[in-house]
């Protein structure tokens, strides 16, 4: 190997002029951004702001049309109580959607685990704590099955969870023989099952433990997604799985943990749902999957993965809660709520596309 050319004199003839080229730091034509562009840039950098704005607006609208009845601590805390289950399931959905997946089986896992917790206690006389632990373990197993099928067999998440949704739900009915465990029985024999239904009052507002469970869970996941390597990997996989893999992210392992965690969270939702309903019934939570996807989409997350914030999902769930509660207080047909939520979903996706042009 001989002495190489010094880098100071370019080798190609046409590059000679480079030595005279401008050395000033590139100063981009900082043309005044129009207010609209500024808004778009802001929304691009903080994805949870759109749903937050919509949430505040909807609160104001209902405060005006329904009146002071709506703006009481009691009424507002009631919305939180109603949103708690969807918020927890939505947290599971958030993880999956961030990886560009979708989980249709979340509701089924929730029902299955709640039935297991109830039946193990009452049918086999198991200690409640152990029965709950079994439910949680089963939730993780359900998520693990989804994860293996998706990460290792490379089946599309939509198809896998469409299948496991039916399987888990059918298992629930077959196992429980469509039996409901009555609320009084649980109250006298296994209060721990209703733990998340316990209430505390703070200045007229009533919060169930389920509400706190949702808020704490979302706070933890927010931290994990934004401040740990695992969280960054979840985003990277949803963004571009091939690039993530080449950059050294263990994509399969991360995907499996995402689905297992989603299953665990659904089991938590299952436990919390016993507190909410009082009883254990295989009939509950039929639409939890659709409701969680609705919360995620209205919350401004991209179903193509890699974009969005779990806080957006919370705001999305709250928007749905505010609308259904407000409309009921106003006294309209409940179908109007569904109509408006349908419009919101489409609007949310349209706004998402518009914001994304900032990067194009």
């Amino acid at each position: 190997m001989t002495e190489t050319k010094t880098t100071s004199e370019p080798a190609q003839e046409f590059e000679r002029v480079l030595s005279q080229s401008a050395t000033a730091v590139a100063s981009f034509d900082t043309h005044e951004r129009s207010p609209l562009e500024k808004v778009r840039h802001f929304l691009h950098s903080s994805p949870a702001s759109v749903p937050l704005i919509v949430l505040v607006l909807s609160l104001i609208i209902f405060a005006v049309i329904v009146g002071s009845r709506f703006f009481t601590p009691f009424a507002l805390s009631l919305i939180l109580q109603q949103v708690a289950i969807v918020g927890i399931v939505g947290a599971a959905q958030t993880l999956v959607v961030l990886t560009a997946g979708i989980d249709l089986s979340v509701g089924a896992i929730m029902v299955l685990t709640s039935v297991i917790m109830g039946q193990f206690t009452f049918r086999y006389g198991m200690p409640v704590e152990l029965a709950i632990l079994c439910g949680v373990a089963l939730g993780a197993l359900c998520g693990f099955i989804n994860g293996v099928l998706i990460a290792y067999l490379k089946l599309p998440p939509f198809i896998v969870t469409l299948g496991t949704w039916q399987i888990y739900l059918a298992t629930t009915y077959i196992y429980s023989a469509n039996e409901t465990i009555r609320a009084q029985d649980i109250e006298t024999n296994a209060r721990l099952l209703q733990f998340f239904g316990e209430k505390i009052n703070i200045g007229g507002a009533t919060f169930t433990y389920g509400v706190f469970a949702m808020l704490v869970l979302i706070a933890i996941l927010w931290y994990v997604l934004n401040h740990t390597a695992w969280g960054r990997h979840v985003y990277a996989i949803g963004d571009d799985p091939e690039a993530a893999k080449l950059s050294g992210v263990r994509t399969k392992k991360v995907l499996i943990t995402v689905y297992v965690l989603a299953g665990l969270i659904c089991a938590l939702a299952g436990w919390a749902s016993i507190g909410r309903n009082g009883s254990v019934s295989p009939q509950i939570g039929q639409f939890a999957n659709i409701e969680s996807i609705t919360a995620v989409v209205i919350g401004g997350m991209s179903l193509f993965g890699g974009r969005g914030s779990i806080l957006g999902m919370l705001f999305g769930a709250l928007i749905v809660g505010v609308f259904s509660f407000g409309m009921r207080m106003y006294g309209t047909d409940v179908q109007w709520t569904y109509l408006i939520i349908g419009v919101l979903i489409i609007l949310a996706v349209a706004i998402d596309q518009w914001i994304r042009k900032v990067a194009g």
């Binding site: 050319k5 370019p10 730091v25 390597a229 960054r232 985003y235 690039a243 993530a244 080449l246």
Partner: protein, 259 residues
């Protein structure tokens, strides 16, 4: 060349269904050199590079790094062994920040309990190192190290990918078409960077279609044809048209021309 090669491959075979991408290909990289790999489209350059960087597993063949046999099951293992690759696709996550991208898969955690128990990322440290690296390479003027990669221009993205490899490569740096997406000035920067990395003693594998660039920086040129190493030439003894003739099959290289 009396020295031992740092990286060797012997008889690599990789088949995709009926297509044979690598057909008993050999490869040698010596310490401190810039080895260019050229070849027609479909000659198997990418498969060869992917085999070395751990992205694919050859069906047959042996590879050694510093004399020790190596069997990478993932790019992560190759990276841990000290082989860094700048992929043609860059392998960046558009929605993540520059710093997050540079440290993807080898994040720095905060010291103390926050790092070990809560696994909190040390954003400040990562951003500082990323900024230092980018400044050192003088590749770009970035206003905000926390901005998403998707808001950067093509050349700036290339710069981030090159900086990442240069920052972490400890034994070998592989660059797949590093100047393909760049303008004249940015290409010059990357070529200077290749020289810089070489001066630090790191060998570089450069895959490129740009003959002037190849002949400028390469110490040896590995010509790949029909899935195997056709020959290795010294750029000072052959012209660019010779190289093109060998690689397209217009001319057969002299026997025993392993430079």
């Amino acid at each position: 060349m009396s020295r031992e090669p740092i990286l060797t491959a012997r008889g690599l075979v990789k088949r995709y269904g009926r297509v044979t991408a690598l057909d008993h290909a050999d490869f040698d990289l010596y310490p401190g050199e810039v080895l260019a790999v050229i070849g027609d489209n479909g000659a198997g350059k990418s498969s060869l590079i992917k085999a070395i960087s751990g992205a694919i597993h050859p069906d047959e063949g042996e590879m050694t790094l510093e004399g020790k046999p190596m069997h990478f099951r993932s790019p992560m293992e190759a990276r841990d062994a000290g082989i860094e690759t700048v992929y043609q696709t860059l392998a960046l996550s558009p929605a993540l920040s520059i710093a997050d991208n540079m440290f993807l898969g080898r994040e720095i955690r905060k010291p103390g309990i926050m790092g070990t128990w809560f696994r909190m990322l040390d954003r400040k440290a990562m951003e500082k190192r990323a900024r230092d690296k980018l400044t050192e390479l003088g590749l770009m003027t970035i206003q905000n190290i926390g901005q998403a990669v998707e808001t950067l221009s093509g050349g700036q993205r290339q710069g981030v990918a090159v900086a990442r490899a240069a920052a972490f490569g400890s034994k070998v740096v592989i660059m797949d078409e590093p100047t393909a997406a760049l303008g004249v000035k940015e290409s010059r920067r990357v070529l200077e960077l290749i020289q810089d990395v070489k001066k630090r003693g790191l060998p570089i594998v450069l895959i490129s279609h740009n003959m002037p660039h190849v002949f400028e920086v390469a110490d040896r040129i590995h010509i790949h044809r029909l899935g195997k190493r056709l020959t290795v030439i010294d750029p000072k003894e052959y012209t660019m048209s010779d190289a093109v003739a060998f690689m397209t099959g217009a001319k057969t290289p002299p026997a025993q021309s392993i430079a």
